[in-house]
Symmetry: D2
Subunit: 337 residues, 4 copies
């Protein structure tokens, strides 16, 4: 399928050539699971990136990274505060319930998929506190949000402060964390542990990898439990070097940021063309706009592919592989509606 037509999701993108090359380069026999040199080097590499000692658990899907993170942070009898539109709520078939042994997602509303301390505080206040009621143990936010908004370091820090005050752990679903960093230009540390984040699902698959995500634990003491839970969940690949190789390739020369910048840039012409149709500010690589069924049909008739969102609206997502030339025809078609 030509890149010019595909705006369904960044998870349809190809694998970056440097990632493919790194995988081919890892093809000598080596120790299985995560005993290979590439896997063993990840903690140090991500510790350097985050300017603190972290433990990194590679996995192949964002769903497994999220579920594993939350299984570490919330017991079966607890609850996880999150946005009602979060991927863990709507798109993971109950993976969090499965991994945690039945913890409950306690959902909150919030414009553009974004939560504030007031929203979370209010939700907590409406929960009972006795043994009859689900007690929250964690907050999970998504950065970039499901509607393409970006939490800034002070946004996260305000939530981090609330979490500490309430005894909650803080998890970030960072399927598009790279796009947030690319947008903000801040350090990964400022957007995570310095703001009170305990665990980050750091996505690479949407951003140029084949099937590689890094669960970053800012408390390395959690690593043993995480590694056992990963194995138990069937996620410890026997030739793990091919996952680790992807992560190294994505970090090499900041490829992850270059790719994210490219994806963000590709969204700009679409945002400009959407103009007053926009439902949310475009802060990363997702564009939500009003589009009547007839308009959507007209665009599809021209060959453009994208998903509907709420009735009368659509979601367009750009990828690292789409150049301005790839995107301009779609922008023009939108502008011409």
């Amino acid at each position: 399928m030509p890149a010019i037509m595909l705006f369904f999701s960044d998870n349809m993108a190809p694998v970056h050539p440097a990632v493919l090359a790194a995988m081919s380069g890892a093809n000598a026999p080596d120790m299985p699971y995560d005993g290979d040199a590439l896997s063993q080097a990840l903690d140090a590499r991500f510790s350097a990136l985050f300017e603190t000692e972290v433990a990194v658990i590679w996995t192949t899907t964002g769903t497994s990274a999220n579920a594993l993170a939350l299984a570490l942070l919330c017991p079966p009898y607890g609850g996880i505060l999150t946005h009602a539109a979060a991927h863990i709520v709507l798109d993971e078939c109950g993976a969090v319930e499965h991994a945690t042994g039945g913890a409950r997602l306690l959902t909150c509303a919030g414009e553009g998929g974004k939560l504030s301390p007031d929203i979370v505080r209010d939700r907590i206040a409406r929960l009972g506190t006795g043994v009859h009621h689900t007690r929250p143990f964690a907050l999970s936010i998504t950065n970039v949000t499901e509607y393409g908004l970006v939490y800034r370091p002070d946004d996260v820090a305000a939530l981090g402060d609330l979490c500490r005050a309430q005894g909650l752990a803080l998890h970030v679903d960072g399927a598009r964390f790279a796009n947030a960093i690319a947008r903000l230009g801040c350090s990964p540390a400022d957007l995570t542990w310095r703001a009170g984040v305990d665990a980050l699902s750091l996505g690479f698959t949407k951003n140029g990898a084949m099937n590689a995500e890094a669960l970053v634990l800012f408390d390395p003491a959690r690593a043993d439990e995480a590694r056992r839970r990963r194995k138990r969940a069937g996620h410890l690949l026997s030739k793990g070097r091919f996952v680790a190789a992807q992560l190294h390739a994505m970090l090499e020369g900041d490829l992850w940021l270059a790719n994210a910048r490219a994806a963000n840039a590709a969204a700009e012409p679409l945002a400009g063309a959407a103009g007053a149709r926009l439902l949310h500010p475009v802060e990363a690589n997702e564009v939500f706009l009003r589009l009547s069924p007839a308009e959507a049909a007209a665009l599809r008739a021209q060959g453009f592919g994208f998903h509907d969102a709420e009735p009368g609206t659509a979601r367009l997502v750009t990828g690292w592989h789409q150049s301005a030339a790839d995107v301009m025809p779609f922008a023009a078609a939108i502008a011409a509606l």
Copy 2:
């Protein structure tokens, strides 16, 4: 690490060039998850291979295939009869318990990892039948067994008959199923559904793939539940075409059988050299032999890598990539002990 030295496990082997090429060839943008053409073609391809209509669920690890299969075949309050040395018992960190919601593994002894109807019948007879006791719902066997023995079609059929009589489902952990077929020369159908098998974890990763296993369901009506459980377990990769591509490449021109034959052949010189040291007949690509600590140390001092098994014994595993020339030095070293 040079192939000449590595006899730890076939999961250390490289990826076959044809598989890597197929993966590179799948790198155009495509529909995510298993919506791509390669994934969509798997049911038909494996149905042809098995001469009956099957549903195929790709996944990236044998552990996840086994756990998913058994979650389909056994409820949380049930039990799964299996060998005490089975991979699901010893090497999966409780993945079956996790996937099933707490079903129990009911273990049996059996020479060389192999179970017979008598063994299984006797184990069932010692289980209570009331609600206080765990009721078995499935039998899981491993073919090739963990000790390198092969179940023949009539071995499996005898167990299949017992299962039907007892109301048990029959699962095969086929991490080395290719090696069994290569050894026996029978059809995959004869070794599975014609012998009463309900689900097969068909491994490719040890046999030349990177991270691709096929859970083959001989009752395609189970596929919807299987696909939901796969997603829920975090095993639905967003770029699934790269897994499907591996499976197609492995079947193409019967590469899977050629590789398995090569691995089996590589074990023969070792078996010959081991001679009276052998603990089990060598029927596939695993060699178990008596080896004193001093002898093991002597071999390791020469650079050969392998795992200890029970005290005073060792396990040697050969891979698809090892030629006779790769193996002969090790055979000679063993013979020289």
Copy 3:
């Protein structure tokens, strides 16, 4: 605590003397678990009551009855449609998630805790249908609802029709089912299986028993699984005859209906006194009314005990043991506000 003061909940009520007497009468040595004659007679007795063959699983709490019922009706990867104010949502600490292995409660809004086919149909329509999304397998309603409203046979039948059309099982949390029957004067059959109900948690503890609930399964074929799940959940009491004795005593001479009528009648003076303050029609033994914090404090200062509901409102619950004379002082105090 004197009955005259207690309007917190009907679960504070004493045990009816006939129930206590029946328990004492069961004190000879007998077969353990549910092997005693009283337990063994329950299926027949409830089958007569419901005019169809049912299987009855006794248990000691409504939470365990609900959780067990839903574990039978919904797989771990499924969802259960229910009202957002349902007891299973707000007051059972995730018991359904625990018993089912992580199924999700899919909540709906509805005036007075009551659901209609339109509400449920609309909720289903907003759920995705693919493997990424939680697929509903059951609907759970509460009759009497948490706000004291009663579903009539045709209300239930309309939901039953919808469930059959959608492939959903239908569960009724009947913690106050007796109060609904007492109010409606219909047959238990009309309010359950004739209206499409698959399982009923039939409560007796709030209505005069000590700790006895009956999970009524309208498909007796589910009984073996239910009995195994009850044992596994630790709910198979070894001296089960003392639970069975309570159920028999409650049915004897329709004590369950007499008690429910008494509780309903006790609510009437309170409803009359509340007048325009009422938030919902009073159809059973619960009264919800507007009450400012100052008014609530004034009533409490007079010794009356009751729970707050939403801010500025209160919930009053009457029990089988409260006579008009017990209730009139409270009614007068409310009227005097």
Copy 4:
């Protein structure tokens, strides 16, 4: 059924009159769940009994007490070392797996159901230590054992030392703990926390209560989690005062010890009559003896009821309610074989 004939199990015994009286005496309206005065007084009462601050969680079955204890002490990905004949292994339908979310029972052999440090140490040594293998987190022993043997304080302390050295928690299934104390004459403290026990399932139902067990937590900080897990498992009865009343009645005037002494004493004539037929020393209220099928049939033909154990053996259990006069006819019949 006359006491003279029943030797199946002590769980068939009647309820002691003092317990029934205490239950009747608790029948005034009171705060629900465990908010009543009787429930609230349990921590203090059991703290006095155990000479240290404990938290007590009442529940109605031994299975639920064991499962709750082990859910506190072992994570889902862990294992619990225990005897192969333990009640949690053979008689609870996987309750531990359910409550823990899939932890595994790691069974050991041991004469008479009894474990020693050597046995446990050897079992641990045979477990792998990596993430592929189930790591033990707890040891669960039964005192009195399933074969009627008693662990003495120094037996328990030796296991407690091992547990501390290995990082394991120590649980005691004390369904017949009273019988052990009655036999040994030691303090409950010496047999539990002073010997390194973390949690005790202290049974009363077999010993004169109706349905009351006490989970005693020697680290009261675990109580909040325990209370939430109890609720979630559906075990928080709404009229909890009737369970608490039983526990108080059993402790009052050391009724629990008097009853246990009576049960132990009732076993002595049977043990004497069995003589050389005995399989294990009789240290409490259980007698295991060799009995051919013909002999068993002969005894049953005389009206005596008991369970078979292993082929060619039988188990006789005496209860608190059986006097010497009740037991002598059976003893005579055995002696006459």
